[in-house]
């Protein structure tokens, strides 16, 4: 049973390869025509230091002004690699807000592009829309229970031991961290390294 599922999975992946290749060529053309920018469109929410590397003590290439449009190329933990004013560097992720970038797309296209992006860049892409009609709200106010589905859901549950072994496979190391909260009144920090919030342990 497991073998056949794995086989199916392999076949599925093989089938998607030509689609990815096709999408890849479409994107190569797009990149060639744009030459410089290829990232997701965003802008800065505060004056922000553009760093040469994704570290706080790295060289500051320039201080970029609030509201400056940027292209986000990649993310590394709390840092985003951006391109702005013909320079490439790193900024803290919370200095950035993405712009609305939806375009109409069909389900199949969005899925194909998404696989392409996941494999090549780790980005889910900016032009993917859900192409969904949304969940029917009436089904929440006048529910039709599905006990069979609930039973099936319970059968998916895994033991703590299985979860632990799953975590070990990718060397996920447990860390100590208390819960942290902020006061209700929030104003955006005025610069990268300044926070006006009060931190406290809630645990």
């Amino acid at each position: 049973m497991k073998k056949s599922l794995m086989k199916q999975k392999r076949i599925s992946f093989l089938l998607v390869l030509p689609l990815m290749a096709m999408t890849s060529s479409i994107f190569s053309q797009k990149l060639a025509s744009q030459e410089i920018t290829s990232g997701d469109k965003a802008s800065l929410v505060r004056d922000t230091e553009l760093k040469a590397k994704p570290y706080s003590d790295a060289n500051t290439l320039k201080v970029l002004a609030e509201a400056l449009p940027v292209d986000v190329l990649s993310r590394q933990s709390s840092w985003l690699e951006i391109q702005a004013e013909a320079m490439t560097g790193w900024v803290k992720m919370f200095s950035v807000r993405y712009d609305l970038q939806s375009v109409p797309s069909s389900d199949s296209f969005s899925g194909t592009k998404q696989v392409f992006n996941l494999v090549t860049t780790g980005s889910s892409g900016s032009t993917v829309t859900t192409a969904s009609r949304g969940l029917d709200e009436n089904k929440f106010s006048e529910p039709s229970p599905n006990p069979y589905a609930f039973k099936t859901m319970q059968s998916f549950a895994v033991s703590g031991e299985d979860a632990q072994s799953f975590a070990r496979d990718e060397s996920l190391n447990e860390q100590q961290q208390d819960y942290v909260t902020v006061s209700a009144e929030v104003s955006a920090p005025s610069s990268d390294n300044v926070s006006e919030e009060t931190l406290g342990d809630k645990s």
Partner: protein
């Protein structure tokens, strides 16, 4: 409902027996009197009863939730999401709840938590994610709603009940097709379209990143997801319900900015686990559209 009846009988037995003298009552070599005395006189006893009712209510609500759209028919993906979710939940203060997770076969973008530890994420949201750390962050947010009993608090407010014990009483004493308990379960399901308190959403964001960090993941997965959702048109039908029931993405990011401003640098090298995520969801990302 059979379970409810059984629980009711057990509870009533406890109540009745607690009221009488139980000294020396021994059945099958178990000192019932001593056990009941211990249950009746510790604060944990009330918590246990409340938690039992919370789980029963959650099961009923989750059963309604799963009537909204079908489950994704892919055992591998369901199992993968459960492993991530279970691992994250093990780093919470309620690791022993019957945590189970499910992917709903729907392209809208959303996730739901039912009391007691039942979490549902839509395929549409799963497909928007880039790595396991982002999934851990999203599930951490939902797990936190359960940890803090946000759903029950909303239910108390909407039903006019004053305390958790009121809800416990309704659930534990429910009879088959009992009107009051049915109303409670329906009201519990309606909360998904009305939304929780905004502060509860902010709190779940703040706790979700901590749970992901404790589980060893890059804790910036959740803010990265919120970032990514900013690119989608809020008028998109698949996003409408999530936008209607949550604070703005900008506000959520601003709050997380404050939460993560200090102390989280130590996790800058925690893994995002991208390749395993891609392998796990590869089979549903295009061919099943």
């Amino acid at each position: 409902m059979k379970t409810l009846r059984l629980t009711f009988i057990l509870l009533m037995t406890t109540v009745v027996c607690s009221a009488c003298s139980t000294q020396g009552l021994v059945i099958n070599n178990i000192d019932i009197g001593k056990s009941l005395s211990a249950i009746g006189h510790t604060s944990d006893a009330l918590t246990n009863v409340d938690e039992e009712a919370e789980i029963l209510l959650g099961q009923e609500i989750a059963t309604n939730l799963l009537g909204v759209a079908p489950l994704l028919p892919n055992q591998d993906v369901q199992s993968y999401v459960n492993k991530v979710g279970r691992w994250v939940s093990m780093h919470s203060e309620r690791p022993d709840l019957p945590w189970s997770f499910a992917v709903m076969d729907d392209m809208s973008i959303n996730a739901f938590a039912a009391p007691g530890g039942y979490i549902v994420i839509t395929k549409g949201l799963l497909l928007r994610l880039n790595n396991e750390a982002e999934l851990a962050g999203v599930l951490g947010h939902e797990i936190s709603h359960v940890l803090r009993r946000h759903h029950l608090n909303a239910l108390k407010k909407s039903s006019g009940m004053s305390a958790l014990t009121d809800i416990t009483s309704v659930i534990l004493t429910a009879k088959e097709e009992d009107t009051q308990s049915l109303k409670l379960v329906t009201a519990g399901t309606e909360i998904y379209i009305r939304g929780l308190d905004k502060e509860d959403e902010f709190e779940s964001d703040a706790m979700g990143v901590v749970l992901a960090a404790r589980a060893g993941y890059d804790p910036y997965g959740l803010p990265a997801v919120l970032h990514s959702l900013q690119m989608i048109n809020p008028d998109d039908a698949g996003m409408a319900m999530m936008f209607k029931t949550h604070p703005s993405l900008d506000d959520r990011l601003s709050r997380l900015d404050g939460v993560m401003a200090s102390g989280f640098e130590q996790f800058d090298h925690s893994p995002a686990v991208e390749s395993r995520f891609i392998r796990a969801i590869g089979s549903i990302s295009s061919l099943t559209q």
